[in-house]
């Protein structure tokens, strides 16, 4: 989607906001929010791309006004409610001071146990899939990115659409976010690393030697 999250090349955000000796978390609630998200993800009711799309579906003004972990909080609330694991009424009642204990949702998954955390963290979730799929492009080949504007999730940023690039590496077959965010958990496509000249993306004023690399799925690319 052409959302406000797609920030590459935008002007008007002058402050880098560098902080020396920055702590891992700035507030106690950020700590809990981070860990709650990990546990909520582990319930297995959504995937990383559904989650990213939930962040992107935020009201754009709210997105820019709020911090990173507020985005996480928003995505977690949205998905828990959409999945029927929590209701908006339960959340509002608790925020309003109602301490009636909450009941489990019918057929809800089991919680990630403390004893499973270490293994889950260090195992991770590889996105590559060992499936046979012919490669449409080869390293060195010139390609052009698609001029697409899907209303759903995509990982082809606006600044890199309809641009000419050179394939630099074949990354193998990876899970494909555009279809995965729509619920196809195992949708996969071949992924390529593609080089773009800075002047192709930003015009003749850009330093001639500079380049930008993106990892792009096969259906984002067309032969030039």
């Amino acid at each position: 989607m052409n959302g406000v999250h797609d920030l590459g090349g935008m002007h008007g955000f002058p402050e880098l906001g560098y902080e020396h000796d920055e702590p891992v978390f700035h507030h106690a609630w950020e700590r809990r929010c981070f860990a709650l998200n990990f546990c909520a993800d582990a319930l297995g009711r959504w995937n990383l791309d559904t989650w990213r799309h939930a962040v992107e579906r935020m009201d754009p003004v709210e997105y820019l006004r709020t911090s990173y972990y507020e985005h996480w909080l928003h995505a977690m609330e949205t998905l828990l409610i959409e999945q029927g694991l929590l209701t908006r009424e339960e959340l509002e009642a608790r925020l309003g001071g109602d301490s009636t204990p909450a009941a489990p949702a019918p057929g809800q998954p089991a919680a990630l146990a403390a004893s499973e955390v270490e293994a889950a963290l260090f195992r991770g979730e590889p996105a590559c899939r060992d499936v046979e799929r012919p490669a449409r492009f080869r390293p060195g080949e010139v390609v052009r990115t698609a001029n697409i504007h899907p209303a759903g999730h995509t990982r082809l940023p606006r600044y890199a659409r309809a641009r000419r690039g050179i394939v630099r590496a074949d990354r193998g077959v990876h899970l494909f976010p555009d279809r995965r965010a729509a619920g196809e958990d195992e949708a996969a496509e071949r992924l390529y690393n593609v080089e773009f000249g800075a002047s192709e993306l930003w015009g003749d004023e850009a330093p001639p030697r500079d380049t930008v690399r993106l990892d792009l799925w096969e259906s984002y690319l067309e032969p030039e």
Partner: protein, 211 residues
């Protein structure tokens, strides 16, 4: 007027409520429902606050500087080489190490969200996640580098890596001069998080950036 004000602040509650209250409400509800084990939350926080951080990446860089065989393995298959040091898992499943050379300076960003190699660098700093860096890094990387006190000659290619997929990038900075006699632990002490993102270089001992 007073009514307008009242209405304006309440029609879209609770989404805009204080995040501290919302997180507390969510944690209590999910715990009561049996969807979250509070001890799991503590275990997760402990890992990211005490065990995972840029000190891990600094060890990878120092070993690559000190051990040419490790450097070769690292550049060929970064995920496996980094795992030799025990750094692997969430947000480090597909690692690529980018070596800075006299010809190429690498710099990493995620314009669409805030993808970052957690096992080697920890959780990203606020500036990496904020709109200013994400908007400017791809369009004006030399301007961003200048803010970090780095000015590169025009004949050096600035190569920006936008983390659009699950590939995660760690920059292998150039080893600074005057460090020949240093062991791996001392070398690791020179390596900064910013240099491994590619917004800074590693400076020789005694010539660190001010502040």
């Amino acid at each position: 007027m007073a009514d307008d004000h009242h209405h304006h602040h309440h029609h879209d509650a609770p989404r805009l409520a204080d995040p501290e209250l919302r997180v507390r409400a969510l944690e209590s509800l999910l715990t009561e429902k049996g969807l979250v084990d509070p001890a799991a939350l503590d275990a997760i926080i402990d890992v990211y606050e005490t065990r995972i951080g840029p000190h891990n990446g600094a060890r990878v860089v120092a070993r690559a500087w000190a051990d040419p065989e490790f450097r070769r393995r690292l550049l060929r298959n970064a995920t496996a080489a980094i795992a030799e040091l025990g750094f692997e898992g969430s947000q480090g499943e597909h690692m690529t190490v980018l070596e800075n050379t006299p010809e190429v300076h690498n710099m990493v960003v995620c314009t669409l969200c805030s993808c970052y190699p957690w096992p080697t660098l920890g959780l990203p700093p606020v500036w990496y996640k904020a709109p200013s860096y994400r908007s400017r890094a791809v369009a004006d990387p030399r301007g961003v580098l200048a803010e970090f006190g780095v000015r590169l000659p025009d004949d050096v290619e600035v190569r920006v890596w936008d983390s659009s997929a699950e590939m995660r990038y760690l920059v292998l900075p150039a080893r600074p001069p005057g460090t020949d006699g240093m062991d791996e632990a001392a070398l690791a002490g020179l390596v900064t998080r910013d240099a491994m993102i590619g917004v800074d270089i590693v400076r020789a001992p005694g010539t660190e950036r001010d502040g």
